[in-house]
Amino acid sequence: MKKFSFCVFLFLLNYQQYVAQELKDVLIKAYSSKDSSNYYFKIAKRKIKNKDDEAQFYFCKSARFGDLNQYDSAIVYGKKAIRLLENKGDLNSLLTVYSNMNNVYNNQGKYDIALEYSLKGLKKAEKEKKDVWISFFNTQLSIDYHDYESYEKGVFFGKKALKLLLQKKDANVGAIWQTLNAIAINYDDWNKPDSALYYHKKVFHYFKGKDTLNISSTYNNIGNTLLKQKKYKEAKHWLKTGFKISEMKSDASNDVKNTRYFYEKATLFTNLATIESELNNFSEAEKLFAKAHDFATKSMSAEKLRDLYAQRAKFFTKAKKYKHATEDHENYIKLRDSVFDAKRAKTFAELEAKYQNEKKEKELLQVKAKVVERENLIKKKNTQFVILSLIVAGLLIISYLIYRQQKLKNKQQQQEFELKSAIAKIETQNKLQEQRLQISRDLHDNIGSQLTFIISSVDNIKYAFDITNNKLDSKLSGISDFAKATIIELRDTIWAMNKSEITFEDLQIRIHNFIEKAKIAKTDISFNFTVDSQLKECKFSSVEGMNIYRTIQEAINNSMKYANSKTISIDIKPNQDDIEILINDDGKGFKMDEVSLGNGIANMKKRISDVNGFFDIQSNENQGTKIQITIPKKCKKA
């Protein structure tokens, strides 16, 4: 019965939070009304709109019937409420119904079913991690085991609940009192009165002054413990104080005298009667036992009746009223057996085993989950490490690439600078050379005009004055011819200078022109000039072309001047990778070992060696002269 105050508190709290305002108001009225409860429940039923409302309706109705000691109705409505609430309903309401069902079955003495609801509530609370409810159901279990006279387990669950409560800074004082009480009554009935008194008196740490009006049962319980210690006087004092506090509270609140009230009174009078019996005040004891019997019957508590019959049987035996003693003893046995039959004990054990198994399985699953979680964490860390390593590698690669790019850029800039400097230098040199060439060209033009002036002056002198002196005439003619030859030579040179490259065809034309002039100069000499047509595509640089032309010119001039030949043949043809130039005459020739070769031949050799060629001259007396020139063929496709 002590548990009810806490249940009601939770129940009302639950109301405020979850029931729709309108329905909530009606249900509160239905629950708290003394006479019009049924009327308000009918109104509330009409206001039900959904499953949640329906669940709250049955939940209230079950609680109300529980308070009115109509246990069967309370059970029926409680089960309906549970069915609705278990299907995604409000958790606090569900746990409250479990608690109420435990209470109802407990009062009926069906401790196995009561225990089942406590365990259900505990499992649900543990699953949802509701610490307040976990400690509450542990306290419930402590009381259940006490009622079932399994005190060791009762103490175990009580201490468990107390530990949970004391861990919380803002723990509910009422809940602590309930738990301390549960532990103490277990110790008390376990014949450990010192421990029981320790926990009972611990209650006064939390309740002082006026607050003690709420814990009259603690006074009764202390009196009960002292009674077992045979400290009758002291026990009587505590019991009477408890009685006075209970009466004061009852008068002050003007409460309905419900089962809880009768339960407490039954306890008190049973204890007082036992004290009187022990003190051999039989008549007083009998009266008190009668009152206790009346209250125990009204409390509808099997446990209370059981205790009463047990104590009264002892009293009647002591008072030598054996008939009454036998009756009470039989009643006691009957009640005890109804509570403690073998089947029920087995169910009790099975339920506990089931709970423990489920708990262990849950713990095992939690351990497994933790292991998996840890493995995942390690995997995650490994993955992170790998990715971080890759990022570091990436950063290193980027650094290297940037460094390399910078280095390359510097190198490129240096190369570019060097190249541009070289180009600028060459360009300057080119400009300078171009200027020099321009000066040379101007000079050549000037020389050409001066030579022309000399020729015309000499010719004018010859025609203007009648020169009879042959020697003088010859000198003038010599100067004129020499100047003309020089002009030709100058023109040839300028021609070569103005060409970037000289084709073999150009060279051929130039040689041909020279031969034509030679023919005019020496009409008695016949010239044969042949060039292989394959060589037309060959090209030379201006220097090479000039050297070849000058060499051929020198060779022909030598033949014309010194060989006294009749035929001069010039034959140019390809010979594998070379060009072969053969200049032959049928002149008088000379002995190679007797004649020292002059500057002309030395110049020819030098010119040919300048173009990487080979120069050879062969001559014998009266057998003509044969010059062979071999130069590398540099034929380019036009």
Partner: protein, 92 residues
């Protein structure tokens, strides 16, 4: 965290790719630039070679002209000498 790291890694990969691309593009650009400069330099070189050969010819011609000038000088001296000799005999 992992997603962030993966995104950073992918960004780094993109940066690496872009950098590598830029390096290759820069190198190609520089190569083409260098090729142009080389071509220009070759042109200048060939032009210089041509100028060298022209200068050689010019130098050679200058030497030849020196010889010619000497020869003409000699011829003119001989002519003058001849004229002097002839006039002298006429006066005698």
């Amino acid at each position: 965290m992992e997603y962030l790291l993966v995104i950073i890694f992918l960004l780094l990969l993109m940066v690496i790719f872009c950098l590598a691309n830029k390096i290759v593009a820069d190198r190609d650009k520089f190569k083409s630039k260098l090729r142009l400069l080389n071509e220009l330099m070759n042109d200048f070189n060939s032009q210089q070679q041509l100028q060298d050969s022209q200068i050689n010819i010019s130098n050679e011609l200058r030497e030849r002209l020196n010889q010619i000038v000497n020869e003409i000088n000699q011829d003119i001296f001989d002519l003058n000498y001849q004229l002097f000799e002839e006039n002298y005999q006429k006066k005698i």
